[in-house]
């Protein structure tokens, strides 16, 4: 799979390991004549034009929106679903619609920016637990219970939510849903789960992290948000849940109520992509094969680099994070600059990767690292190539840094 990066002057074709198009839904180039997703988009454009020219409440609801909502509810086995026009505002509006002043949110420290915005917009009381650390979560929950007992406050006096992601965008780790759900039931919390990156990736049929762990939506996860921008390769997001959950957002989800609805063509594309996903289990299999192959190769790769870079993402995740190890050799390195240089070098050698992290990180920023995304559209040769290029780039940049430090 390839993308064209085009500056105003030059145009170059490189290998794409940077975008989150896990199933390769939007991967096809113009040469690929038959892409059903594009065709659906084209038909919708022909029928409905481009924009919807209005919010959902005021004649911005087009029949394709309703079909898409129904399709998602059916696919995830929930009562209903609600379509937002932007993936990020799906999370932030959903969290803010349910959590209000006086409520309690217990959230993972590793959540990404839109969820964090939702949490801070909600004005609820927030407690944090260490990323993916269930012991720490238990500690926090027990603390709350103790306070309850001291204040003689009944358990049902306050709405309480756990906020986690299925597959963490920033770190490529997967939530230990088994233990989390057990804790949730034990302490009676509602779960807000963001499946934006796990939907279409995890689980046997791509239904996300809940399927992966054999959990049931609405029972074990009350409110689930799904971005349509990654596996589905369109624009927007949906929230699925019980009728109560969905209907409430139609009036109080601010990103739904006060924003124009998503263009009919992108909803039609999402609909078709979902169909493709259902029809073609091969896609998911290819993604899994590529991922397994990538992690195998990565092991050898990291040893070869003398553990300068090491893998911090979960082996089941197609988002791969490589971070700089804490070894004496790297002490003099400015990590952020080093990683950016490596990524730039890789790009000039024909592979698009992403360097994450900033010098002055804010709460939502991922840790410094190199992010690669394996998709179903890659081949084993692509994976070999990206690792060779990365290896070469690291060598070049390391040498350059060594020379600079000598001078």
């Amino acid at each position: 799979m390839e993308i064209t990066t085009s500056e105003i002057t030059e145009k170059r074709t490189v290998l794409n390991f940077a975008t989150f198009d896990f199933l390769g839904m939007s991967a096809a180039l113009s040469s690929n004549t038959h892409n059903p997703v594009k065709q659906a988009a084209q038909e919708a454009l022909d029928k409905y034009g481009c924009g919807s020219c209005g919010p959902r409440g005021f004649y911005g609801t087009v029949d394709v929106h309703l079909h898409l909502e129904k399709a998602f509810a059916d696919f995830t086995g929930t009562a209903d679903s609600i379509l937002y026009s932007d993936g990020a505002s799906t999370c932030s509006s959903t969290v803010a619609a349910f959590c209000k002043r006086g409520d309690l949110i217990v959230a993972d420290r590793g959540i990404y920016e839109p969820l964090l915005t939702g949490v801070s917009l909600s004005r609820a009381h927030v407690k944090w637990f260490r990323h993916n650390d269930m012991q720490d979560l238990r500690r926090v929950l027990e603390q709350v219970r103790e306070t309850d007992q001291q204040l003689k406050r009944p358990q049902n006096a306050q709405r309480r939510f756990l906020v986690v992601e299925g597959l963490y965008k920033n770190t490529g780790t997967i939530v230990p849903l088994d233990e989390l759900v057990a804790l949730k039931h034990e302490f009676s919390y509602r779960l807000i789960l963001d499946e934006s990156f796990s939907f279409g990736v995890l689980g046997k049929t791509g239904r996300g992290v809940t399927e992966h762990f054999g959990k049931k939506l609405m029972h074990d996860a009350e409110i689930v948000t799904i971005g349509l921008e990654n596996s589905i390769g369109s624009v927007g997001g949906v929230t699925v849940g019980t009728e109560e959950v969905v209907d409430h957002q139609r009036l109080s989800g601010s990103g739904y109520c006060f924003s124009a609805s998503s263009p009919p063509f992108s909803a039609a594309a999402a609909m078709q992509a979902l169909e493709q996903m259902k029809k073609d289990p091969d896609l998911l299999q290819r993604l899994h094969d590529n991922r397994t192959y990538m992690y195998e190769k990565l092991k050898a790769f990291c040893t070869k680099l003398e553990d300068l870079l090491f893998v911090t993402s979960d082996e089941r995740s197609p988002i791969i994070m490589l971070q700089v190890a804490d070894i004496p050799e790297t002490e003099y390195l400015d990590e952020v600059i080093f990683l950016r240089e490596v990524v730039r070098e890789s790009l000039s050698r024909g592979c698009a990767l992403v360097a994450t992290g900033r010098h002055i990180p804010s709460r939502a920023d991922p840790p410094p690292g190199i992010r690669m995304v394996v998709t179903a559209a890659h081949t084993f040769e692509d994976i070999d190539k990206v690792l060779t290029v990365l290896n070469k780039s690291v060598d070049v940049i390391m040498n350059r840094f060594h020379e600079e430090s000598k001078e």
Partner: protein, 486 residues
């Protein structure tokens, strides 16, 4: 508003609430009713362990008031949002608790007075935009699946940005995926702790969200009142930050070009003068005015005769006049560079779809006359003529019309909650699709209907609509400008 209207409106709400409580009581007493909770096996519904997900008042308003009129909202359509739309007929099997359009339900063709299709790009889409947009779908994908700062920027995004900057006479611009998010994410990256935001009381929710997320101190001034703005500014500068009394780092005044629920232009000249006097920055949200107003479509600045250089940050959306999606911010180069680096929508969120970018570009070409035709000019001219004609006729009927001439948004006051549904249903019956607005989008007492006029409307259509509205105004007693009884 006269006391009589206020009393009758309160009385209507009181009746609703009273009847609602009576119904709730009987439902509880008899254990039967539309809203009685059926025992479900979801653990989250066990109220002995969980607090109810929805608090009672939110829930009560929804159940007992909103649901009565919900057929007036969320009407699905099955066509382009042009001057005539096909509205799908919905049915309800549970006394309006839920409404749905079953498969194969019939459409009713209505004259569309509700969509923000100001320049009518939805009407002549196949003539003006289709070729370019379809071609872009061949070259690019539906979505970039990546953030602007990573690999989400295509050549089209850059073209949109340079075009916006050129159109508005600013150094640079940035375009983001959603108009709502443009406000909600750029404001936090422009201001923060130690800064002051002064915001018009009727600003859109997206601005409120952005302001809240920013952590800056917020002061609100009376809608469109320059005197109050000046007083607020003066007081803020004199008093400084709370407790420490240190001066503010910076002060940002946020106003909208056209207030969508009022149809009213912002008094930009006054705002600019006051802000210059006190050294405050201006953030102008042109969601409804860009492309649609001013002699050449350059929005509120052009309408008010203000140089764009005097407005520090210009924000707008592509949803309305351009028939696309997304929003932009235009400012000087340093500010935009800062936004590119720090604004969440550019560093974390998915980029605008390239196909939508192409739609924006094509629409710009038409508006600026760069497609070699004068379609854009005609569109602007007919939008202005249509709006002014429609407004004049509404005023002649004695309806209480808000807003100013030259504004394509014109709300008329309904006040009474019963009239919301009645007006909408009557219009729908006569083949007019109109927007009615009630609480919480507007204050409880000030329910209204809103017409959005488009360049795509033909004069005969408007005449027909006006004749129907005249009849409805008679039936529903809406002539509030003539008498307090309507």
């Amino acid at each position: 508003m006269s006391t009589f209207i206020a009393c009758t409106t309160y009385l209507a709400y009181a009746t609703f609430i009273f009847v609602g409580h009576v119904r709730d009581f009987f439902a509880w007493f008899l254990g039967r009713g539309r809203f009685v909770r059926v025992a479900s096996d979801f653990p989250g519904d066990d109220w002995s362990r969980f607090a109810p997900l929805l608090k009672s008042w939110e829930d009560f308003y929804f159940r007992r008031i909103y649901i009565r009129v919900q057929d007036a909202f969320n009407r699905p359509i099955a066509s382009k949002p042009g001057s005539h739309i096909d509205v799908l007929e919905r049915v309800s099997d549970d006394a309006q608790k839920s409404m749905h359009a079953p498969d194969g339900s019939v459409c009713r063709q209505c004259l569309n007075l509700g969509s923000y299709n100001y320049l009518g790009f939805a009407d002549d889409w196949h003539v003006t935009c289709a070729r370019d947009v379809m071609a872009s779908l061949q070259d690019f994908s539906v979505s970039t699946s990546s953030a602007r700062n990573e690999y989400g920027t295509t050549a089209l995004h850059r073209q949109v940005e340079t075009t916006v900057a050129r159109f508005l006479g600013k150094e640079d611009a940035i375009c983001l995926n959603m108009g709502f998010n443009t406000n909600a994410t750029t404001i936090p990256s422009l201001v923060g702790r130690g800064d002051l935001l002064i915001s018009d009381e009727l600003n859109h929710t997206s601005i409120v969200n952005g302001a809240r997320a920013s952590g800056a101190a917020i002061r609100v001034f009376k809608h469109n009142s320059i005197i109050d703005l000046e007083a607020t500014l003066k007081q803020a500068i004199i008093l400084g930050r709370p407790r420490t009394r240190r001066p503010w780092n910076k002060i940002l005044v946020i106003v909208e070009g056209i207030y969508s629920m009022e149809g009213e232009y912002c008094d930009l000249r006054g705002v600019v003068d006051v802000c210059k006097k006190y050294g405050a920055y201006i953030y102008l949200d042109e969601a409804h005015s860009i492309g649609a107003t001013g002699a050449t479509g350059r929005g509120c600045t052009e309408f008010a005769g203000v140089d764009t250089a005097d407005v520090d940050i210009l924000m707008g959306t592509f949803t309305k006049s351009f028939g696309a999606m997304g929003g932009y911010v235009a400012a000087d180069r340093a500010t935009i560079q800062h936004l590119r680096n720090t604004c969440a929508a550019s560093s974390c969120h998915n980029a605008l779809s390239p196909v939508v970018c192409q739609q924006v570009l094509t629409a710009f070409k038409v508006i600026m006359g760069e497609d070699g035709t004068n379609i854009g000019k005609q569109k602007l001219q007919s939008l202005r003529d249509n709006s002014n004609y429609f407004r004049m006729r509404l005023e002649e009927m004695g309806l209480q019309v808000l807003g100013q001439y030259d504004s394509p948004v014109m709300p008329i006051m309904l006040y009474n909650p019963c009239k919301i549904a009645a007006f909408s249903r009557e219009c729908y019956k006569r083949g007019l699709a109109v927007v009615v607005v009630g609480f919480p989008a507007v204050p409880l007492l000030l329910s209204r209907a809103r017409f959005c006029i488009s360049a795509g409307h033909a004069r005969e259509d408007l005449d027909r609509a006006l004749a129907e509205i005249d009849e409805i105004a008679e039936v529903l007693k809406l002539r509030y400008a003539r008498s307090f009884c309507g």
